[in-house]
Symmetry: C2
Subunit: 423 residues, 2 copies
């Protein structure tokens, strides 16, 4: 009898689990995702900052898995899961499984202030990235035709909340855009008029990195005109600006990069979650009491061999996906499962066009060398040969010309645009 | 005293007029557009058909004109024009002019059935192109998980209304996608299951071309699986399908390429319009009675020297823009204005991956040779060196691999997506 494996989510974890099970004997795999594409999230900020087009960092899941005859891909939204009866309920049907592999990822958390979401969008989806792009470019356009100096100042003030890698990368890119790219095109705006503030609640940015790298990143950001405010907590966000403690920052654009929480599916599983709503998993990434259910990537509270929580990074999810795939294969061939051992691939964050910080175990690098490593690692891991090549061209071009190729302000919704047009 | 020239619209006409007046002595130019980018409309169907990304066929107007010190670019919506007081009213302010150059283009016309618009979107903007892409790709995704053969058939039926170049290009591309690109990725769909119908009210498609070319295009389309219905009139469009005469075509996707009408600004000018709502212009493209107001491109009812109405093609708009710019320069230097003489650059339409029809005066070409000419002319005219290079790479890749690089289904609105997500 064939074994039915259902994978939910085509991110780094799900995709790698699927590939591990691809074309294996007596296994049928069904992968369900709400999107038709796999997204290379580490480069999403480049889409938000008009450096890359969405299609350059995303590829259809079907195409990525088309060579595996035993894998079926469906576009669908998983609404509930019954672990007892081994059933997955989705808007495209109900599916039974022998093995269930969950890799649904995470979304932004506003720590109870979900009303801030429309005012300060996060960066987890392509739609959010193009919305952020629209807001940043529109702020410059509006400033160009604004006569009132106070209003213009607010239009040219950008607040980024959260000093992790995403916040650092967004703030650095806005600094670079306002200094170089846009200053040539906007005749009435001087780059010195724009103000970028990066707000971090902790006592330093890039808390996951070595302290020296935090410091270096702060200096590099300051060179791009970014003000780094640590030990600062956002108390409210309105259309007019951001309150930090009791200080009000008048700003038309606020972006959120401060926290994540896992898929809301976790609440429906009826299993034990940690304080961050992640599923607590055994050392082999299976759910305690459900030996044939695995949770991978940002959705799980996986730990290192030493008992430390693993960070929400792409390499963790990729390794988890491959590990879980091998667990299923071992089960079926009567071998013993192994524990999940994360091999540290390091972490990095880029700051503007030529700077980055990079840390692998005890090894650290900064500046241009780190930036070059960042570039090659990211291009190397981009799924699909074509995309790698294109992104490299795109970057080479941006690097030479200081331009940003994807500076389109697209309307949020084509209908609303049509309505306005026909007025 | 400096002469104030206001240009409304950064399409082919407005952009070329601006360039003609760029860095000329004693002239200040203000160009207003509702979009921050110039769009290369002849390739818009490639964005709709997932072959190109929006940023590859669009470039910021600011960047295109940044070398001209006397040109100011504003993002704004022109709401009214007072030809008597020489004032342009927009949402970013009111502007006086000495010369007014209008190139606001056209939008789709549903001939009084505007309720069909959400059911059968047209192809004039990037938002519409990505919406069409979403609908076509979603139809295949839904068909893959649909068990009912009747419903599946409707999902795989695509109706394109209008047999002009846009309709022919859309129908050909859908035929090609369903035959080659998607058949590899969708395991439960056979390409023979999909049906594409091109509906034309006249007695042949591509009515602006020679009759032989119409015939050849029909044959080429049929080879891609497209059924060409001439002398057929759409009587209604619903969510379930399209009524052609009294025959009902059950189809989940309908696209509109049947007619255009000029910007609704024309109604507010108080000048005489032709039956198609276009502004009637003198032989120098100025408005009778308003010597310093010009209307260019699709917004005007311009005529050839022989008195024939000029078609709504990019070369007509480009030449009109340059002509009007020279008229202004001639006025200021005391020279006489010339009449607008359109130099026929021909017209072409592509059918799928390797076929096209091409006509320049009496010269005609079909098949592979015409397709190659089409490719090089379009890439050559793409604004901006970088885009040309990238689009050529993109096409070379698609050509070799039969793949389409931009197959992303993006949600219409990020908020609606978020709402669904947080349920």
């Amino acid at each position: 009898m064939r074994t039915k494996v259902v994978i939910v989510g085509g991110g780094f974890a799900g995709l790698n689990a699927a590939k591990t099970l691809g074309n294996k004997k007596d296994i049928d795999v069904l992968l369900i995702d709400r999107r038709n594409y796999h997204l290379f999230q580490p480069l999403l900020y480049q889409v938000a900052m008009a450096g890359l087009s969405p299609a350059e960092i995303a590829a259809p899941i079907r195409t990525l898995l088309s060579k595996f005859k035993n894998i079926r891909v469906l576009l669908g939204n998983v609404e509930n899961i019954d672990l007892k009866d081994r059933k997955v309920f989705s808007d495209v049907g109900c599916f039974e499984y022998d093995y269930l592999l969950l890799g649904c990822g995470a979304k932004h958390s506003y720590f109870g202030n979900e009303v801030w979401e429309p005012l300060a969008p996060g960066l987890k989806t392509i739609e959010q990235a193009t919305e952020i792009r629209r807001r940043v470019l529109m702020a410059f356009e509006r400033a160009e035709s604004e006569a009132d100096p106070q209003k213009r100042k607010a239009l040219l003030t950008f607040v980024v909340v959260g000093g992790g890698p995403t916040g650092v990368e967004l703030a650095g890119a806005i600094g670079e855009i306002s200094r170089f790219t846009l200053s040539r095109d906007f005749k009435d705006i001087r780059s010195s008029q724009s103000r970028i503030v990066l707000i971090e609640a902790g006592n330093r940015i890039l808390a996951g990195f070595d302290e020296k790298l935090s410091k270096r990143a702060t200096r590099d950001l300051e060179k791009l005109g970014v003000q780094v405010w640590t030990n600062s907590r956002v108390s409210s966000i309105t259309k007019e600006g951001v309150c930090v403690g009791d200080e009000f920052l008048s700003a038309s654009t606020a972006l959120w990069a401060a926290g994540v929480k896992p898929s809301s599916l976790n609440q429906k599983l009826g299993v034990s979650l940690d304080s961050g709503e992640k599923v607590e998993v055994s050392s082999d990434l299976s759910v305690p009491g459900h030996r044939r259910v695995f949770v991978m990537g940002d959705q799980a509270a996986a730990k290192s061999i030493e008992g430390q929580p693993l960070p929400g990074l792409a390499p963790v999810a990729m390794q988890a996906g491959r590990h879980v795939g091998r667990c299923v294969l071992n089960d079926l061939s009567g071998k013993e499962r192994k524990d999940f051992k994360y091999v540290d691939k390091g972490q990095m964050a880029t700051i503007g066009r030529t700077k980055a910080v990079l840390q692998v175990g005890r090894f650290k690098a900064t500046g241009y060398l780190a930036w070059l490593s960042w570039l090659f690692v990211h291009v190397y891991y981009l799924i699909g040969f074509k995309n790698r090549l294109f992104v490299l061209f795109q970057w080479a071009w941006s690097y030479i010309s200081y331009s940003r190729g994807a500076r389109l302000i697209l309307h949020k919704e084509w209908r609303s645009y049509l309505n306005r047009e026909s007025k």
